[in-house]
């Protein structure tokens, strides 16, 4: 919830990406993520990551935010996965780890670097999109890419009710904690967690019925329409061109 609030706040500031049409940003970010996936050399991957960091700083997203909110977690997760590859990937010996006697291969180190740079690059680009664009705008922009209207509406409503249900779950756990003295034994904790999930499930189903009736009473007959209110300005066309040039350049650079 904190992340959602912070993302909404950052999306409202006047940075480089915040001022662009959401459709341009979505297309641009997807094209660059595709370039990250396609790149077959480390220099291109490093360039794409650098590009994402420069775009973040031009959009008033401080490096500290990137590091604390994204990179530390990503590095911890992918780092643990990539580490053994240094030793298990067969190939030319690079050096032996002193003390442990483990041999690091050139191919192992390269492979770990591919994985880390690729994961960091793609995650930073996705982060840029979410932290510079209100979620409702991202959803509306999806319509431009022929995502069915019903999927867009379901995604939007899901997002809204995630926040509602999260609040309900928090309240439930707070209520339970405020009535509990001392630690509970494992089986009781398992039962209470399952009961909380059960209550939340019942609440969700009831809420879906209420929401359905509310929608029907406002004239909903199953047809879904999304109002497209975006308008392309000259700077959006320029940004679209820049994204296209950069993505093409990166795909070309990364082909070998």
């Amino acid at each position: 919830m904190d992340r959602a609030r912070e993302a909404e706040r950052r999306a409202g500031t006047r940075g480089l990406l915040q001022q662009l049409d959401p459709r341009v940003k979505l297309a641009g970010v997807l094209a660059l993520v595709a370039a990250v996936a396609l790149a077959r050399n480390l220099a291109t991957l490093a360039f794409l990551l650098l590009l994402a960091v420069v775009a973040a700083s031009a959009s008033r997203l401080p490096l500290r935010l990137l590091v604390t909110r994204l990179w530390l977690g990503t590095l911890a997760f992918t780092g643990i996965i990539a580490l053994p590859a240094l030793f298990t990937t067969p190939g030319q010996e690079w050096f032996t780890l002193p003390g442990a006697g483990l041999i690091v291969t050139v191919q192992g180190a390269t492979s770990a670097a591919y994985l880390l740079l690729r994961v960091l690059g793609a995650a930073t680009l996705a982060f840029l999109l979410v932290f510079t664009t209100p979620w409702t705008h991202v959803l509306k922009a999806l319509r431009t890419f022929r995502v069915p209207a019903v999927a867009v509406v379901v995604l939007g409503m899901t997002w809204r009710y995630i926040l509602v249900l999260l609040q309900a779950a928090h309240a439930m756990f707070d209520a339970r904690r405020s009535r509990t003295v001392g630690p509970l034994p494992g089986p009781v904790r398992r039962r209470t967690t399952a009961a909380a999930a059960g209550v939340l499930l019942e609440r969700s189903m009831r809420l879906s019925q209420d929401v359905f009736l509310a929608m029907q009473s406002r004239g909903f007959r199953g047809e879904v329409h999304v109002a497209d209110q975006f308008r392309m300005r000259p700077r959006d066309w320029a940004a679209l061109g820049a994204f296209a040039v950069l993505a093409t350049l990166c795909v070309w650079m990364g082909r070998q």
Partner: protein
């Protein structure tokens, strides 16, 4: 189990988007036909519930904690097709907004968890729960087992996708471009955690929540148990056609010769004569972490391998010269035999038949 961007090649990602697409299409057609205007709020709320329940930390025996995906609960409460959609929506929001799972790998994550997970969970739940009453403890047990199987199947698919990457995608120096571990490392590493912690968490949540619902509102289990009132004829409640699934099956059959591309030998699938062939012996040793095979074929293998000779060995009948064509022919024949077997089973198990015989 949420695969981030960068772990799978664009080709694998595209193939898994293509693999998930027919299921999304059929699911949407079926669910829309069954739910009509209720589709949007029900899917949204259930996807939101799945998302939130994924954040619950479950204390597990042994002092550790894990979290569930809610896929079995979705299949049990909503049925398999609505579950495919609800879990896919939850995964899409996690990928786009929370960076949990990638954008290019969303198709793979949906294929593993939403599609394979939901269908497997539903099949296990229906098979184990049978026609037990809604309040029967057997249903809670069935839901727990369904969750365990679904999560482990999804993990196995994920591991296989990881394990295929270094086989096909490496740079000029031989360094893997994406997930770096071969199948022999990826599968055990992935399954160890899922057969124990993650599978157990799913089991505890699925069984616990179903047991809770049985006490508080058993009617929620009626849809997944197939106990809802039958729809009026003519409103298409049985939903969309299975044509996209047949098309998907056709594509998979055409792609069957892809297996020829795999390098090396399939571990453990050796013939007795392979032990006498130096090239085959080298392949066996390479596939077994360098451990040399015994000097001669084990006597049991030698004796038992003569018991049955396949009429169509090595996926190609003797009269077919092209290995690729032989693979496609084998795929067509194999799928045909499986469909025939199920048609026969269905005919044997159809209640009308017995009634008809009794009255006749």
């Amino acid at each position: 189990m949420h695969i981030p961007d960068g772990y799978l090649s664009p080709l694998t990602s595209a193939a898994l988007y293509a693999g998930a697409a027919p299921f999304w299409y059929v699911a949407l057609r079926r669910v829309r036909a069954a739910l009509h205007t209720r589709l949007v709020p029900l899917l949204s709320l259930f996807a939101a519930f799945s998302f939130v329940v994924m954040m619950f930390n479950i204390p597990l025996p042994g002092g550790t904690t894990g979290h569930a995906t809610g896929v079995a609960l979705a299949a049990v409460v909503l049925g398999p097709w609505a579950s495919v959609l609800a879990i896919s929506v939850a995964l899409a929001i996690q990928a786009f907004f929370f960076g949990d799972g990638g954008i290019t790998t969303l198709g793979a994550n949906c294929f593993n968890m939403a599609v394979a997970g939901s269908l497997a969970a539903w099949a296990v739940y229906r098979a184990v729960a049978g026609n037990a009453p809604l309040s029967s403890p057997r249903r809670a047990m069935a839901a727990g087992l369904a969750g365990y199987v679904a999560v482990n199947l999804a993990a196995l698919l994920t591991a296989i996708e990881f394990g295929l990457q270094p086989m096909f995608f490496a740079d000029a120096s031989g360094a893997p471009l994406y997930a770096p571990y071969p199948l022999r490392i990826a599968v055990p590493a992935m399954m160890l955690g899922h057969l124990t912690i993650a599978g157990l968490a799913e089991l505890v949540v699925s069984a616990g929540v179903v047991a809770f619902i049985q006490r508080s509102d058993p009617s929620l289990l009626a849809r997944g148990a197939g106990m809802t009132a039958p729809a009026a004829p003519g409103n298409g409640a049985r939903g969309g056609s299975l044509r996209p699934l047949w098309a998907g099956l056709g594509i998979l059959m055409v792609l069957a010769p892809l297996g020829i591309l795999a390098a090396g030998t399939a571990w453990g699938e050796w013939a007795a004569e392979d032990f006498n062939d130096p090239a085959a012996r080298q392949e066996i040793a390479d596939a077994s972490l360098g451990v040399a095979p015994p000097a001669a074929a084990p006597s049991g293998l030698d004796r038992l391998s003569a018991v049955w000779t396949a009429p169509w060995p090595d996926y190609a009948p003797p009269f077919v010269r092209s290995a690729r064509f032989g693979y496609v022919l084998s795929a067509v024949l194999g799928v045909g035999l499986v469909i025939l077997a199920f048609l026969l089973l269905e005919r044997l198990g159809r209640p009308g038949r017995r009634e008809g015989q009794a009255s006749g």
